[in-house]
Symmetry: C2
């Protein structure tokens, strides 16, 4: 904790929670803070980035640094069949882009199948007041289903609508594997997200009873504004016994 920028971050955190900041919740500029703390601009920026990664601040290029208010936390949930899904949806805006393409090496994420097969790609981008809260690329092989663009605006930021369309087409997802990692945004994601703040990455692969991949997705969740929730029910004792 001897680190200068962490000391400054702690002090700013007290300033923020104290609420002595003017109605717009705007912080002094980085240069001002540097003068006040007798620190350099990069040190102040490191402090701000700590708070930004914690979800306390929004740093907006060319505009200013603001206290996050009405902290709406998007929750990725593996229990999609739950009724609670549609409840308490935060006031975010979800946009989709759909296109056809062929699977290429390393480009679609969790598709372990052969290359060159035609896919439908859904690219979801979720924003709240111009801040990106989630990115998701969802892929459905055309061999599985020829889905249309959903007529209604999407209700989920990560393609639950697509899975519902699949279900409506009679395609049952039997198992879902979600590989979760933390990293920094790659160049493709950095177009939308702060390149210095970590992201949670979910690579999802859904299979039907035959073991065929019917849907795959890459979900990118910036830290501080999102979390992921996984609920596991221990299989009842009827079938599994210590071997």
């Amino acid at each position: 904790m001897a680190n200068r920028h962490l000391v400054i971050a702690d002090d700013l955190r007290r300033l923020i929670n104290g609420g002595q900041l003017g109605n717009d919740g705007r912080l002094p500029s980085e240069r001002m803070l540097a003068k006040q703390y007798r620190a350099s601009v990069p040190t102040v920026r490191n402090a701000l980035e700590v708070l930004q990664a914690e979800g306390c601040l929004d740093m907006i290029h060319g505009h200013g640094t603001f206290v996050r208010r009405g902290l709406e936390c998007l929750v990725y949930d593996n229990t999609r069949y739950s009724d609670a899904r549609a409840a308490a949806k935060p006031s975010v805006y979800v946009e989709v882009n759909v296109r056809r393409l062929e699977s290429s090496a390393a480009m679609p994420p969790g598709l372990p199948e052969a290359l060159g097969l035609p896919l439908t790609e859904y690219f979801f981008i979720t924003t709240q007041r111009n801040m990106v809260h989630a990115l998701a690329w969802v892929y459905v092989p055309c061999a599985v289903a020829e889905l249309d663009l959903p007529a209604t605006p999407p209700t989920s930021p990560w393609g639950d609508d697509v899975r519902e369309q699949l279900a409506a087409a009679g395609i049952q997802v039997e198992s879902t594997v979600e590989r979760v990692t933390a990293r920094l945004p790659n160049p493709r994601e950095a177009v939308y997200l702060r390149p210095t703040a970590p992201v949670l990455v979910v690579e999802r692969t859904s299979r039907d009873a035959a073991g065929r991949v019917v849907e795959a997705a890459l979900v990118v969740l910036p830290s501080g504004r999102t979390e992921a929730l996984f609920t596991t029910l221990t299989p009842s004792d009827t079938t599994t016994e210590a071997s």
Copy 2:
């Protein structure tokens, strides 16, 4: 991608994969690289930290920067009942510290119960060649079970042994909720981990059939060396029907 440090990172990545680095896989010092690239030390460091977060490099204070070899990736898995768990265990070293304490505000992570109740804390620290690969704090309320320190060295970095002890004591975990986030290490974790690289955080809460919390854990997984895997089986159609 115009960023200088990303260009340097790309170049270093090619250098690393090319394998022209001497047998110990050691990179030139930061000062040397700065000279070679006509860049400043912080810029070179930013480039190295990108690769470090990707798991390509190990930066060892006072010693040097080395190419990660035998990339052993620890996998956190929610299917603890699976037989595959014990298979293919990487050559890591797991250490435990056990102590008694009382639950205090905000200190134990996923325990939503009353404060002041006595707990057993298991602190797991997993290393491979002096590099920390995982941290885990596991809590069991004494009211649930009075467990002993496992006699054998622990086989799991995140307390599967504790859960097995619980099972042996007749306490069945019925549901497990795992809350997953990405962030930077906090001061307590930064003692063990690089403070600039993101970590994956799993907050686990295990309940029995009565809904009582029988075990809670905070697992910290540094990016690049670990991942988490969650497998969800869609409940069979016998019970759930579209409502």
